[in-house]
């Protein structure tokens, strides 16, 4: 059964095949990189935001808390319930300012990219100056993992409940801050954040408890 004729090459496949496979592989990689870079355009920034996040509270506060959150992440909702009041208190007393980083890490856990949509909606809430309250409401109404996420209508309703003005609905529906959401997510990834929630006090990671946060903020 074995081909034994003289024309069978013993040295493996023809050079043409090898070159064809390599060219195909490199071409596929180049297309992927091209598609990725083409989508990298950043859009408008919400009021008071940077490409990394939104700061809330006294800009001259002695302590800076960085919160990396994904509105689809159950542990983030849990952290909000546990430490939300402490954060509010630290901001209200002028002890700390909070930088919200609403990252979209968990799009694979919803069929509608809820992480990205809610993150962009957080930008709309920042515009309206109601981000902390909106974030609380999003966590209180967090959709289950693996579902369709909250529909835009409900995001709009929660924004109104948080006190956002009439522009909020248009902002959510047109996905005005989708590009910003992408840049926030990318910045977090570059900063080495590989889990949500991640809480930094003056750049140092602290444990995910209200006590740890309070202690770090008091020391900082």
């Amino acid at each position: 059964m074995k081909p034994r004729s003289a024309i069978v090459r013993r040295g493996g496949p023809s050079t043409t095949t090898v070159v064809a496979v390599l060219v195909l592989v490199l071409f596929a990689g180049a297309v992927g990189f091209g598609v990725y870079r083409a989508g990298a355009a950043a859009g408008a920034l919400p009021a008071g935001a940077t490409a990394e996040g939104v700061a809330v509270g006294d800009p001259d506060a002695p302590v800076t808390i960085d919160l990396y959150l994904d509105f689809q992440c159950p542990a983030c909702a849990q952290y909000e319930r546990q430490a939300g009041a402490t954060i509010d208190e630290l901001v209200a007393s002028g002890r700390a300012r909070v930088v919200y980083h609403p990252v979209a890490y968990l799009n694979r856990f919803s069929s509608t990219d809820y992480s990205s949509r809610s993150s962009a909606a957080a930008g709309c809430a920042a515009d309206a100056g109601v981000l902390p309250r909106f974030a609380q409401l999003l966590f209180a109404h967090q959709p289950p993992e693996g579902g369709a996420g909250l529909p835009d209508d409900q995001l709009v309703a929660l924004g109104a409940q948080a006190g956002a003005g009439p522009d909020f609905a248009a902002c959510v529906q047109e996905g005005r801050y989708a590009g910003w959401s992408r840049s926030v997510t990318d910045a977090a990834s570059r900063a080495g954040i590989t889990a949500t929630p991640t809480v930094l006090v003056d750049g140092r990671e602290v444990e995910r408890t209200a006590e740890a946060l309070r202690a770090a903020a008091a020391a900082g």
Partner: protein
């Protein structure tokens, strides 16, 4: 042509094309699954590569964004049986890279998901890394790829190889 029937081949030889076919389909199917899971979210794929903290930023972007399409191409080549030896050789190089990357992440005590099947490298809270399992899987696939480089010829292949 001699009129006599050829002697029955030894079992190992008879089995080899089937084993090569099985290995090809297995490796190809894994590539297709991994590529399909990642190609819809290239941002996540880039984040997963960054999470290893091995490559400089531009290289991480090239690898992260390019890998899903490469995986799909390799999967199609292996499953259909076109250029099996070359595709298996590229597969072996990639698998070796994954093994080194995962081992390096483990050795440095990073807490990441391997990102093999389309997460952004992020672990869910309370989730533990599965480095041992990831390493065992990729090492096994590396062996399959190397065997295919040695014995690429199998059944149902689009392009015959020696």
């Amino acid at each position: 042509m001699p009129p006599t029937t050829p002697p029955a081949p030894v079992p190992a030889t008879a089995l080899q094309p089937w084993l090569s076919t099985a290995g090809r389909l297995l490796l190809g199917a894994v590539w297709l699954a991994a590529g399909a899971a990642k190609i819809t979210d290239l941002d996540a794929s880039v984040r997963a590569v960054r999470a290893y903290r091995l490559l400089p930023e531009t290289a991480a972007q090239v690898v992260g964004a390019g890998l899903p399409a490469v995986e799909l191409v390799l999967g199609v080549l292996l499953v259909t049986g076109a250029g099996v030896r070359a595709a298996a050789a590229v597969s072996a190089v990639l698998m070796l890279g994954f093994v080194v990357g995962i081992a390096a992440a483990w050795a440095r005590g990073l807490r990441i998901d391997c990102g093999c099947f389309g997460s952004g490298g992020e672990l869910a809270a309370g989730e533990d890394p599965a480095y041992a399992l990831d390493l065992a899987r990729d090492a096994a696939l590396l062996v399959v790829a190397l065997l295919l480089v040695r014995w690429p010829a199998g059944r149902f292949a689009l392009v015959k190889e020696s």
